[in-house]
């Protein structure tokens, strides 16, 4: 065997091993087994299968990425090899798991899991052979998939994404369809079209195979058409795209806004209670995310105790609206308390801001972390229990009343959150594009020079802290009015971490990034209940993958894109020279 050949096997081997480790890991922590209950398409493909195989698939894709050949054969072969290698560890797991008792350490290595690895076959030999064959095939598919030209790759990706997406969110899709069904039947009680079809699309929460096939075909077709159309447009360079005139631009903007407004206003009507609740939560996190985005994204002050301001808002709302020792005659109403909650949290932002003015980076992060904990512990303490209720929290917070109508359902409270997020977004945009926004940006870039440009650091930092705190306080007030009861342990560090993660995943300093981040990190886990147990694991994986591949986030702000890709640009520049 010559050296070249062995060398060429090195990459597939490594990727295969990594893929195998992923498979074994998912198996050993129980994801595979738990998810195998959840059928995606018919009875044949479960979420567990997906978890089991994606290691092999990605081993193939990465292998193929590393090799550049005009001829697809080497890629496919090494993909197959990678797939085959990725079965080594799972097979070892099977062998060890059946011969020794691993369950004292890995309680999830159950006989059930062993059966899964054999695809339910009786004989171990056939089962394991089948397993190896599958991973090998998947490796090949992965490698081949990477080689496909964009024109075919994109439709394939979109087809798979839609099919799996609908299967994954089957419960929510069903809910939307049910709500629609109800709306239709309110008008014409005879029409049972939607209701009948729900059953033909989903059975026990899994997509019926031929429907899945049709969904795949339709999304494949649509994307193919779009790709082809785009390609055709590219072929005609004669048509110079005209700059949009300001008037046209404005018209376009207005149309977009009206569309957005219509969607936002009518969404709860169509999506039902549960999804409205999810949207409510997402909106709450968007508000907080926008606030923290000002502190971290714009001003560059790493604040890990952001949840404290959320707590300030929530407790202000709770204490002032309920009947307590402080106001025995009964509380204020929601709308009167809202500005007070805002003021209280802004003041809290100022109070936190003062002692940490001189701190930078890590030190600031630690101090704010401590601040967040102090607030939580104060809320929990016996000392403040007469006011804040101690561990019992504040109970029976009234719902907001809007012109005589009690807003007590997610569908109605949703509107308050939407209004709050829109205001927060508006303020964020306006501030970013103003002198204050530039001050923050300059301060983040170089504090000393910013000061030498005449910028008052004290004022600029305090403004960032207090405006950010204000957004969070409003969110807290709305949150407590929605829940009705608040407890100190609702305001733990995890919320700060969540908000920070969603900003980073979405794109630091970017407003659409905050929205996307909230949907991904707050909305998705609510919808994918199966993953709830593994929520933090998924967070971790997502964050690591993001940091490695797209450190600037999904929708990056221009300035961070520049910063994080400075090296690439320099390299490109050096090559161009």
């Amino acid at each position: 065997m010559n050296k070249k050949f062995t060398d060429s096997l090195k990459n597939p081997f490594n990727y295969g091993l990594i893929g195998g480790v992923v498979i074994v890991y998912f198996s050993a922590i129980g994801i595979v087994e738990v998810f195998s209950e959840r059928n995606l398409i018919g009875e044949s493909l479960s979420l567990g299968h997906l978890m089991l195989f994606f290691g092999a698939l990605f081993a193939g894709i990465f292998t193929s990425k590393k090799i550049e050949h005009d001829n697809p054969l080497p890629n496919i072969l090494s993909g197959a090899f990678a797939g085959l290698v990725s079965s080594i560890f799972p097979l070892a797991l099977y062998y060890i798991g059946t011969h020794f008792n691993l369950r004292e350490i890995f309680i999830n290595v159950t006989p059930n899991l062993m059966d899964l690895l054999l695809f339910g076959r009786e004989s171990a030999a056939t089962g394991l052979f089948l397993f190896m064959l599958t991973t090998t095939l998947l490796g090949m598919i992965g490698a081949g998939y990477y080689l496909l030209p964009d024109v075919i790759k994109k439709p394939f990706t979109s087809g798979f994404a839609w099919t799996l997406g609908i299967a994954l969110f089957s419960e929510n899709v069903t809910q939307i369809l049910r709500t629609l069904d109800k709306l239709v039947r309110d008008r014409s009680p005879q029409s049972t079209f939607i209701r009948d079809n729900i059953r033909t699309i989903f059975q026990d929460g899994s997509l019926v195979p031929n429907v899945a096939f049709w969904i795949f075909l339709i999304s494949f077709g649509i994307t193919l058409a779009r790709v082809l159309l785009a390609a055709k447009k590219m072929d005609q360079p004669a048509v110079v795209e005209e700059e949009l005139t300001p008037k046209k631009k404005l018209a376009k903007q207005i149309t977009n806004m009206v569309l957005l407004a219509v969607v936002l206003v009518f969404a709860p009507v169509f999506i039902g209670r549960f999804l409205s609740q999810v949207l409510f939560l997402v909106g709450l996190y968007i508000m907080m995310g926008l606030g923290l985005n000002i502190v971290v994204g714009y001003a560059g002050l790493l604040d890990l105790g952001y949840v404290a301001f959320f707590a300030f808002g929530a407790y202000t709302m709770g204490i002032l609206t309920t009947t307590t020792n402080l106001n025995p005659g009964g509380g204020l109403n929601f709308w009167m308390t809202l500005p007070i909650a805002l003021m209280v949290s802004v003041t809290a932002g100022l109070i936190l801001g003062f002692p940490v003015l001189r701190m930078r980076g890590d030190y600031l992060a630690i101090v704010t972390l401590g601040f967040g904990e102090i607030i939580r512990i104060l809320a929990l303490s016996d000392w403040l229990a007469p006011i804040m209720g101690g561990a019992q929290g504040v109970l029976k917070i009234p719902n907001p009343v809007f012109f005589g109508k009690v807003l007590d359902t997610p569908e109605t409270l949703y509107y308050i959150v939407v209004a709050g997020s829109l205001i927060a977004g508006f303020i964020s945009v306006r501030l970013r594009d103003s002198r204050l926004g530039r001050q923050w940006m300059a301060m983040r870039e170089d504090e000393d020079v910013a000061e030498a440009m005449g910028i008052n650091l004290v004022q600029t930092k305090l403004l960032a802290f207090s405006i950010g705190a204000g957004f969070s306080g409003l969110a807290g007030a709305i949150f407590s009015a929605r829940l009705g009861n608040i407890f100190p342990h609702s305001f733990n560090l995890l919320i700060s971490v969540n908000i920070l993660s969603l900003i980073i995943v979405g794109g630091l300093g970017s407003i659409p990034g905050v929205v996307i981040g909230s949907f991904i990190l707050v909305g998705m886990p609510e919808l994918l209940r199966e993953f709830n147990e593994y929520r933090l694991l998924m967070y971790g994986i997502l964050l690591i993958v993001m940091m490695l591949n797209k450190p600037e986030g999904f929708i990056p702000a221009e300035i961070f894109k520049r910063e994080l890709h400075a090296k690439d640009e320099e390299l490109a520049g050096a090559q161009a020279d």
Binding site: S434, R435, L436, M441, E451, A452, G454, L463, R562
Partner: protein
Amino acid sequence: MLKMKNWQGHRLTKDNNMPSILSVRNVTKRFGGLVAVNSLSIEIPKNSISAVIGPNGAGKTTFFNCITGFYTADQGIMEFNGTVINHFGPDKITNLGITRTYQNIRLFSEMTAMENILVGQHPRLKTFWAESILRTKRFVNEEQQALEEAQRLLNFVGMQGLGDQVARNLPYGAQRRLEIARALASNPDLLLLDEPTAGMNPNETGEMTRFIQHLRDELGITILLIEHDMRVVMGISEQITVLDYGSKIAEGKPKEIQNNPRVIEAYLGRGAASGLEAAAA
């Protein structure tokens, strides 16, 4: 009132008919046991180009940092346009009318050239931050004017069309000029330039020298610079102060400095002055 005028008149004759814009008296700055600036007194005449020179580690940049408020002087008085600025922070001093550039360029490197200048304009802009949320007429007008002014400054330093470039990607010379433009944006009375021609080739150096002269002549800004390139220093400065180990060892016109034995000694070592004289003879 009359008395005052007389007194000032007296000073005028003393300082070559020019009132001083910055007067530094007996300023000392220590870092632990090290005396970086030792009882230094300098008068910077209004509308002049002055230079501070000295070997490496003579305390020139420390002196700049004291003037701009980055360090607080341990002793002495610094007076700018009649205001004692000893205990002012950097932002306040900039707002009074002193701006600076840095030895190793310190632009906001990820921001565009335009944004850099806009930040520099900070002391001149007056709208309250909340006005930007409401987009009041005052705010919109001010922003518009700021943009126009920034464009004008960009053109002034010869960087037409480079406004959208990220500062980091600009060529070295342009970065130097952008830093000056940013400093000019606040409309200063006194501009401190810390080695403006460092790292430049003779061609660029010549250009920068002319540019500095142009600054003074066109905009009437007083300039104080630290410089190592003697051709630049001797060519444009009207007053030169020489520092060595934090103390002033000589002061005067370029001609006087060139022939000062203590200066030659500081630069070339003990005995060098007499050696040179011998060589000349």
